[in-house]
Symmetry: none
Subunit: 223 residues, 2 copies
DNA sequence: AGAGTTCTTGAATTTTTCTTGACAATTTTC
DNA sequence: GAAAATTGTCAAGAAAAATTCAAGAACTCT
């Protein structure tokens, strides 16, 4: 899943440099000189961006105002790219939810590292794909071919546990534990949940893409 | 809409001066000498105040404690009015969510400017649309198909928070926090507010356009 | 102080999920 | 191939969660 970066930087040379470097590393970059244009672009579809890189020294607008407007609209991580003199503003910035600082001049490589760190912290990178499934454990959301399917809490627990042990068969007892069910729960109950889960994610027990029954043992997520 | 100011200042002369000046500029001021009284007043109806002006040099109580207690109860902007020597404490203050500083002595005019700046910053200035809804966070107004609906303060807080987390389910606990409700508030209370909110914006729980219930998790604004 | 809102919460109602027995289908064992 | 064990799913009732009602408390405004 390729990450989208919104870059707001008024120095053309710098903009070009960062843009090229990020692209080289597989990021999709939309770069703006004018913060107002950037904001209007952001507000159109705020959730497509995974991270914002923001220069504090901007024309027409205070960088912190931009920051605040972005955060109000959507809680995306922001990395400030500031001149070294602005360290004093750091506190102010962290108040506004800024996620990291880089003092110019910096190595482009450093920027990549910071972006990765921020995304990791956000837990955005934890969203993963298996076949047609996209699983977002933090938000307990699953999509099949981009359609959201609504799993019940137990189904979600089972899926996450199976996924965690991907490639290994797990017993019904383990699944009962994983879903925090009472220890005296019947095995049939698990079978039923698995059946419902398979149905929701479009899996066929006889010819499974995801969850295979291990006869006499339990279930396993195909790895 | 006249703005309410909570003033905490132990010097009677100063208190009087600020009070008069703010009143002259159309603000409603409640002034206290004793921070404990001020806190108790604040806690009675936290959401009526638009801004708090706080003297750091207080009797019986550390100014930062007052600050923290206020922020715990409700996230209202705070402007510190401190003696010039206390600049070193700034960092401490910003950590606590203080919004601005004024070093005594200052021109009353300066205070007005700071208050306006803080209120402007608070005001999320962009209107936006979702389906048939138009939401104006700055003025806390919502229209459905161009008809204004009057939301209560809590309903507005909930709607804005859900909108901010659009596409992600949020728990009732998060909503309780977001609306600055007491932490021991029952979950039913949130359900009730959501029910009323849905009714006002013309949403049907069984077939929602805006707010979907996530069974076992909470609510989410459809994204 | 009193009228009108808004807020909170227990309880009734509705909806969704969970559990389990039943039985058919499948796999293993002998 | 028959018997035994295991798995898949239906359907019905139990349990849990969500929604709404209703009444009283708290708050706002005049």
């Amino acid at each position: 899943m390729t990450k989208m970066v919104l870059l707001i930087e008024d120095d053309p040379q710098m903009r070009r440099l960062i843009c090229d470097y990020l692209t080289e590393f597989g990021y999709d970059v939309e770069a703006f000189e004018d913060p107002k244009e950037a904001l209007s672009r952001f507000c159109r579809t705020p959730r497509v961006f995974d991270v914002v890189i923001l220069d504090l020294m901007l024309p027409h607008m205070d960088g912190f105002d931009v920051c605040r407007k972005i955060k109000e609209r959507h809680d995306v991580p922001i990395i400030i790219s500031s001149a070294r003199g602005d360290i004093g503003n750091k506190i102010h910035g962290f108040e506004l939810g800024v996620d990291d600082y880089l003092a110019k001049p910096y190595e482009p490589r450093e920027l990549i590292l910071r972006i990765e760190a921020v995304l990791r912290r956000q837990g955005r990178s934890e969203k993963f794909q298996v076949g047609d499934l996209t699983i977002d454990p933090a938000n307990r959301e699953v999509t099949v071919e981009d359609f959201t399917v609504s799993l019940t809490p137990i189904e979600m627990d089972l899926l996450l546990y199976l996924l965690q042990k991907r490639g290994h068969a797990v017993s019904r007892e383990q699944l009962i534990q994983a879903a925090s069910l009472p220890p005296d729960t019947r095995n049939r109950t698990i079978d039923m949940h698995i059946s419902n889960l398979r149905h929701k994610i479009g899996d066929d027990p006889k010819n499974p893409k995801y969850i295979r029954s291990q006869w006499g043992i339990g279930y396993k997520f195909i790895g």
